[in-house]
Structure formats: structure tokens, C-alpha cells
């Protein structure tokens, strides 16, 4: 691959509109900077990061380019996407934590149980708030459909419905199969069942991701009133609080399991000493942390736009953005 072609490939990290405006001169700068040397990994990474940042500006996740309403909407959608990630990681935690309370010594069971129950309660509360948020936006969605907007959201919505249908059918099939297996077979002894379970889990994740995408595509197009956006802002605060509670609850549960029943985290025999580290739990926790960061970012964005709307962009303009 020629150096020029390699640099052009790097430009793909940037949004098309930006490439159209700055692409040529940016390429010239990269060529001048490299002076014929091949781009290092660090160089590429920094270009990629700058491109992603530019995309974030274009999507109004960063910066003040978009209107206040759009910025607030983007903040709300960040919280929604964060919650979708939280649902996926929460489902993974639920599967891992099955029968965990019976694994703990009776004397130390209560803290782990309390942490797990609090995590589950926060999960339910957050999901309910997301459902309420969707219901509040329904009238605006109906107005949008009546105005002929269906063709603009049809693809995203139908993809989500199709993915849901496939995942429900697969889950029903898996449940029917599970009835013919014993507990040992259901928990890893039957490799075919385990593989099918994994496929089902992936299908559910895809369905959640596609519903989230449909929500993002739709909310970006429908006209939400200031009042509705205000309610959604409060719900975003609630969902973010639930996200914090899930992360704290999961961390507490992990610490308790690591201290008193670390063998459970590895599925080994009771009482066998084992490391409190679990790769699967670590991936789940990482997803939760990503979700938490996104939710906090979204909430901060919502709060900032609310303040600007109340006190005026001029007053706060200098304080908020670098």
C-alpha cells in the first residue's frame, strides 16, 4: 500500500462532511509532517482519536455547535445507550450470580445478598424509568408517524422487530431443550446446549442493540416539547443513579464473593482456594464502567444545556467549553 493511500485510509476515521471540507489540506499536512516516513502506530492512533472526536462533535456529543435542544437530546440518548449496555452486562452478572447466596458461608451471606438484591432492584428501577421515558415520548412519535415520517425510521424499527422475533424464537427453543436436560448438563456439561445458550445470548444482545439504535434514530427526528424534554431529564437523572447503584452493588458483591467464596467465581468445588479474579466478571464490570461513564457524560450534558437554557448561553459560554 502506498503511503498516500495509507494516509487516505486514516482519514476514514473522520466524518464524510469534514473530509469534504478539510480532507485534502489535512492530507497535505500529514505528508509534510511525515516527510516520506511511514506513519507510526502512535501517529495513526492520534489521527484515529482526533477523527472519532470530530465525529463526536458532528453528532453534538461534544461542543456547542448544535442547538440547546439537540445537545440535550444527545445527552438523553447517551444515558439511554448507557442503560442498554448496563442491561447487557447486568444479564451477564445475573447468570454468573445464580445460586451465589448458597455458596456463601451463612455468617457472611447477608452483605453479598444485600449487594446483589440492591443491584437487581436498581436494574429493575432503571429499566422502568427507561420504559416510562419511552411512553412519554410516544405521543410525539405518533405525531411524527402521522406526518409521514415512518419511511425514515422504518428500517431501524423493522430490524429491531426482526431481531426480537428471532431471539424470542431461539430462547423458546432453548427453554424447551432445557426441560430435557439435568442441572449439570444445563450448566456446562452439555457443550451443544452451552453453544446454543451463547448463540441465544448474542441474539438478545443484538436485539437490545438494534432497539437502542431504533430509539436513537427516532428520537433524533421527532419533535419533543420542552416540557417532555424536562421530564426526560429527570428520568435520565434517575437512570444514571440506578447505573451508579448497579456498579456499587456489583463491586460489593464481587468483593464479598472474592473474600468468602472465591471458588464460586470459577465454578470449582466448594472450599477450594481460588483467585478472586474472574475474567468474565471483569469483562462485565468493564462494560458497567463504560455504561457509567456514558451515563454520567450524558447527564452532565443534559444538566449543562438546562442551565444554559435557564440562564442564557452567553453567561455560561465561557465557563463550559474549552
Amino acid at each position: 500500500m502506498s503511503p498516500r493511500h495509507e494516509l487516505e485510509r486514516l482519514l476514514r476515521w473522520y466524518p464524510a462532511k469534514w473530509r469534504g471540507r478539510y480532507g485534502d489540506e489535512f492530507l497535505a499536512l500529514l505528508e509534510d509532517r511525515l516527510a516520506g516516513a511511514p506513519p507510526t502506530l502512535r501517529f495513526r492512533t492520534r489521527i484515529a482519536a482526533a477523527g472519532v472526536r470530530e465525529r463526536a462533535f458532528e453528532a453534538s456529543v461534544l461542543g456547542n455547535r448544535a442547538s440547546l435542544a439537540t445537545q440535550r437530546r444527545t445527552g438523553l440518548l447517551s444515558v439511554l445507550v448507557a442503560w442498554s449496555i448496563m442491561v447487557i452486562s447486568g444479564a451477564s452478572l445475573t447468570k454468573m450470580a445464580e445460586h451465589s447466596s448458597s455458596a456463601m458461608p451463612v455468617a457472611t451471606r447477608s452483605v453479598a445478598q444485600w449487594a446483589y438484591d440492591a443491584t437487581a432492584a436498581a436494574g429493575v428501577a432503571g429499566t422502568l424509568m427507561v420504559v416510562v421515558g419511552a411512553m412519554i415520548a410516544l405521543p410525539a412519535f405518533a405525531r411524527y408517524l402521522r406526518a409521514g415520517g415512518w419511511h425514515r425510521v422504518r428500517r431501524a424499527c423493522l430490524q429491531a422487530v426482526a431481531a426480537t422475533a428471532v431471539s424470542v424464537l431461539a430462547t423458546l427453543g432453548l427453554a424447551a431443550w432445557a426441560h430435557h436436560l439435568n442441572a449439570l448438563q444445563r450448566n456446562g456439561a452439555d457443550r451443544w446446549y452451552s453453544a446454543a445458550f451463547l448463540v441465544c445470548a448474542v441474539l438478545v444482545v443484538v436485539a437490545i442493540a438494534l432497539w437502542t439504535k431504533a430509539a436513537v434514530v427516532t428520537v433524533a427526528k421527532i419533535d419533543l416539547s420542552t416540557r417532555v424534554l424536562g421530564w426526560e431529564s429527570w428520568l435520565a437523572l434517575g437512570v444514571t443513579t440506578s447505573t451508579v447503584a448497579v456498579v456499587v452493588g456489583t463491586a460489593t458483591w464481587w468483593v464479598q464473593m472474592g473474600l468468602y467464596a472465591s471458588w464460586f467465581l470459577h465454578g470449582t468445588r466448594a472450599g477450594v482456594p481460588a483467585s478472586p479474579w474472574s475474567d468474565r466478571l471483569a469483562v462485565t464490570a468493564l462494560l458497567m464502567m463504560i455504561a457509567l461513564a456514558m451515563a454520567l457524560w450524558g447527564l452532565w450534558r443534559v444538566a449543562l444545556t438546562n442551565r444554559r437554557e435557564r440562564f442564557g448561553a452567553f453567561v455560561l459560554g465561557g465557563q463550559s467549553e474549552a
Partner: protein, 104 residues
Amino acid sequence: MLRRPNDPSLLLLTSLASGPKHGYALLKDVEDFAGVTLSPGTLYGAITRLEESGLIEPLADVDRRRPYRLTAEGARALKEVTSEMRRLANVGIARLRLAPGGAQ
């Protein structure tokens, strides 16, 4: 924008105060007067934001290299920020002189 002395946007405005420059010339100039090496991504991020804010404007490109120059608004913004920085620096210097064992 323009909050810190090493803010890329402020460095670019300062560089353009001495006349129009294209991307590579800006990088070199900022390196020379501030000792800061901006990455191409950071440079063009700042150029994008400054152009959107109307603080700089593009000129006709020469062999794909497009120079930029300060607008009147950009010059005004740079003057305001540097005046404020000078005021703060003067306060700091004056207080250091008054402090026990401070610089004389």
C-alpha cells in the same frame, strides 16, 4: 475555548497574529514560540472549531496547502484573552514580590 495558555486554539490565534499560515507552517511556528508540538489531529480540530466560531478564515489554497488568517473577531478575542492573562500574570508577579522571601 481559549482558557489555558497552552490551549491549541489560543496557540493558533497567536501564531496567526503574525500573518496567514497553512497547517504545517502553523505547527512549526507553535513549536518555535511555545515549545508545544501539536499533533495534526489536534491542529485541525482547533482549526475546525476556530473557523466555525468565525475567529479565523481560510484563504485560497496553494498546492493543496490552505493558509488561514485571523478575522477581526479573532484578533479581538486574542487581544481580550492575552490582556486578561497579562493582568493575572502581573498580579502573580506583584504578589510574589510582596511575599516574604519572594522574588525581587
